[in-house]
């Protein structure tokens, strides 16, 4: 019934037309790029597909959390790279959070000197490129003396241009039990904190939470330690020839990356913590004071629950940034995912596959982190309504 000209004026029809046009253009561009790429690959004689993953990689990787040798496959090499990325990111997240929270609180301190120090830190660290900072840390670590003249920063801990060496416990059957006891202690401590809070709410009477937590954390491991015969033998690194033997070690690459990432990200986290706490209106503190709550309780019961809502979303995106920034490892030779993918791409020529895999892995990590953030926001939003 409707004539075609009138149909063109329908918002719905127009919508479909625009989308069809857009899709057609996108597909045309994509087809053009793909066909060019295929032609180019064919003329260069490069294979396509993911078959290369099963072939022998043929290159060594400086450090690995898995047993790895040059005769392993590309897939194993990439997994090693991914684990290295995750390892340095996880350690960096913990360190950056601790440092960032401390500095953020320092930025709020009424102590003029602490305040200035924290500001100086934030303004310096955030305004110099991370890559420059990484290169500086790496250069410093590399120009440390050789193992023969290693610096003994603490008894048994040696710093040299081969990285950091530190004593590790000699394995003993008792350690499992001690660890188990410690885990039980942590569980008991958490239970004590929750019980203390519930007890307080139910009866209004204080519960000795702090002593209970200390007891729960210390007593079970101590008991396990004594009953298993106090197994406390250390494997201390000793200088043998040109390098150390025994003990545990981290490479200069890992250390430089860890320090650089943590120091840089901490500057951003500090600002997030600061603005989160400042976002809670002063009236909240006043209302708490007027009700007779002590400053500590105001912080715990009124300020922090509100500030955390503001802090957590940008904090997660900082964690994500840290993980992505760990890809700068490639500049200082830490074998992370990007660096291993890069080597693989150079060797096989299968650039498209290597880059695609690398991007997909990062996307998965990002989606996981932002999934957590959305979950948290939903949980919090329910309460704020």
């Amino acid at each position: 019934m409707t004539n075609p000209v009138q149909a063109l004026n329908s918002a719905r029809v127009r919508g479909w037309l625009y989308q069809a046009l857009f899709l057609a253009c996108t597909l045309a561009v994509a087809w053009y790029l793909v066909s060019n790429t295929l032609t180019n690959l064919a003329t260069r004689g490069v294979a396509t597909g993911f078959g290369f993953l099963q072939r022998e990689a043929g290159f060594e990787i400086g450090e690995s959390l898995l047993p790895y040798s040059a005769s392993d496959t590309y897939l194993t090499a990439l997994v090693v790279g991914l684990l290295n990325t995750l390892a340095v990111s996880a350690a960096g997240v913990v360190l950056a959070t601790v440092l960032g929270v401390l500095i953020g609180i320092g930025r709020l301190s009424s102590n003029w000197m602490v305040n200035r120090f924290a500001t100086l830190y934030v303004e310096t660290v955030r305004n110099v490129p991370l890559l420059l900072q990484l290169v500086v840390w790496y250069t410093i670590l590399n120009r440390l003396p050789s193992p023969r003249e290693a610096l003994e920063v603490l008894p048994g801990i040696f710093l040299s241009n081969r990285g950091m060496k530190f004593p590790v416990l000699v394995e003993h059957a008792g350690h499992g039990w001690i660890l188990l006891a410690l885990l039980a202690g942590i569980a008991a401590a958490i239970a004590a904190v929750r019980y203390g809070r519930r007890h307080r709410e139910a009866t209004g009477k204080p519960f000795p939470t702090l002593p209970a937590v200390i007891a729960a954390l210390l007593l079970p491991p101590a008991a396990a330690f004594i009953t298993t015969g106090a197994p406390l033998a250390f494997d201390v690194p000793v200088l043998a020839g040109f390098n150390f033997e025994g003990g545990g070690a981290v490479t200069p690459e890992f250390t430089a990356l860890l320090i650089g990432l943590s120091v840089y990200t901490a500057g951003f986290i500090a600002e997030i913590v600061r603005s989160g706490i400042l976002a809670v209106p002063h009236g909240q503190t006043e209302a708490g004071l007027a009700l007779g709550l002590s400053p500590g309780k105001i912080l715990r019961l009124v300020i922090l629950p509100q500030a955390l809502r503001v802090i957590v979303p940008p904090l997660t995106s900082q964690y994500l940034n840290l993980t992505k920034n760990s890809s700068l490892a490639v500049a200082i030779g830490y074998p992370d995912l990007v660096s291993v993918s890069n080597t693989s791409a150079n060797q096989t020529g299968q650039v498209v596959e290597a880059v695609a895999m690398m991007m997909v892995v990062y996307l998965i990590i990002s989606l996981a982190i932002s999934g957590f953030m959305n979950w948290y926001n939903r949980r919090v939003a329910l309460v704020t309504r």
Binding site: T39, T43, S110, W112, R126, P129, V280, L363
Partner: protein, 391 residues
């Protein structure tokens, strides 16, 4: 506990009872004639009183102050000695070896390399002039009074002028291919061009993300999230190794342009999120009013929505520019010769190898000056914006 600025409880004016809306004025209130009491030691003996209030008011604060003082004592004298007192300012690397402090002569000797990379030595006045022009324009763009249409024209002229200076080949200037460019010009140009090119793209992406058409929305969301989900390094790798594959045989794109394309796409995704923030900050009533006036989609967008949204997003754009400026240092990974690469090259000269710290301190300072002044500028813009929106 958070410390709140005294402005929170700023006294409201008294005396000749000004109209109520004056109370919200930002101006400092004129001080009253009488002075605070001297008796209780709050302000008596000013410096001591101040130190007591700000540094030693609680045991914890006293401990922290002492710790800071110790840290200062440990850090400042050796740093001052190294940086200034014992430093050697000129002469050869032998003179440096004898001095206990920093070797600033390395900067004196290498500054041309750090700033301009491998640009032909005798022609380096050209990148210098180009950078000076550029920085002057950047400074001028920060002045609100200059935010007029002619500024865009001035920028276009500047860019043409820079191109002439850098490439040459006309007006008696010898031709310098852009693989000889390096140092500061690369850093400046990559950051400014990537922001400038990313900006229009980001507006389209942000509008697309808000679009009611699912195909367009999905594409924009997918692009933005994908770019934001991966590291810049991987985007740069993609740009440097995959672009040549995308193009028909025989067509080549220069390394600098490839890196620029990668940075632009990456920056556009982040900027799009900033622009989206601005779009969402516009009250629904504005859209309704535009619809009620009978404006079409593009009229509504261009006349009502964008002018308001872009005003809001200027500070985030400046912040994104700071990020882009710092991120240009990553192009060293794909083999471009930016400021950081030039600095690293300077430290590899065997004669000056021990003095890497000086070179990095210098390069860091360059970056810091740009980033710090821009971040201050963006804070100032934000305060300005808040002043206008505050009632």
């Amino acid at each position: 506990m958070s410390k709140h600025s005294p402005a929170d409880q700023a006294p409201i004016p008294t005396a000749p009872v000004p109209p109520a809306h004056w109370a919200a004025s930002y101006e400092e209130e004129p001080s009253q004639a009488s002075t605070p009491p001297q008796a209780n030691g709050m302000t008596a003996l000013k410096p001591f009183g101040w130190a007591k209030d700000n540094l030693f008011n609680t045991p914890l604060n006293t401990a922290l102050t002492v710790a800071c003082l110790v840290l200062l004592w440990l850090v400042v004298p050796p740093m001052a000695n190294w940086l200034l007192l014992n430093a050697s300012w000129s002469g050869s690397s032998e003179a440096c070896r004898e001095a206990a402090g920093a070797c600033w002569s390395v900067i004196v000797v290498k500054h041309r390399l750090i700033f301009f990379g491998t640009y032909p030595y005798d022609e380096q006045w050209r990148p210098f002039l180009a950078c000076a022009l550029f920085v002057a324009m950047l400074g001028a763009s920060g002045v609100r009074a200059f935010w007029r249409p002619w500024l865009a024209g001035a920028w276009a002229l500047t860019l043409v002028g820079m191109g002439v200076l850098m490439w040459g080949g006309v007006a008696g200037l010898t031709y310098v291919p852009n693989d000889r460019w390096g140092g500061l010009p690369i850093t400046l140009m990559l950051s400014v061009f990537s922001i400038a090119l990313a900006f229009p793209l980001s507006i389209l992406l942000a509008l697309g993300r808000q679009s009611s058409l699912p195909a367009i929305r999905t594409f924009c969301v997918g692009f933005i999230e994908a770019m934001r989900g991966v590291p810049l390094v991987s985007v740069l790798f993609m740009a440097s190794v995959m672009f040549p594959l995308f193009l028909p045989e025989g067509v080549t794109v220069d390394k600098l342009l490839r890196a620029l394309a990668g940075m632009t796409l990456f920056t556009a995704a982040y900027l799009a999120e900033a622009v989206r923030g601005g779009l969402q900050a516009i009250p629904k009533g504005q859209y309704e009013a535009a619809d009620a006036l009978g404006l079409g989609y593009w009229q509504k967008t261009m006349l009502i929505v964008l002018p308001q949204a872009l005003r809001i997003v200027i500070p985030p754009i400046v912040n994104q520019f700071i990020s882009a400026f710092k991120d240009t240092s990553l192009v060293t990974i794909v083999g471009l010769y930016d400021l950081l690469t030039a600095a690293t090259v300077a430290t590899t000269d065997p004669e000056w190898r021990p003095y890497f710290a000086e070179v990095y301190v210098f390069a860091g300072l360059m970056f810091w000056i740009f980033c710090f002044s821009m971040s201050r500028y963006s804070q100032w813009l934000e305060r300005l914006a808040n002043r206008y929106t505050r009632r």
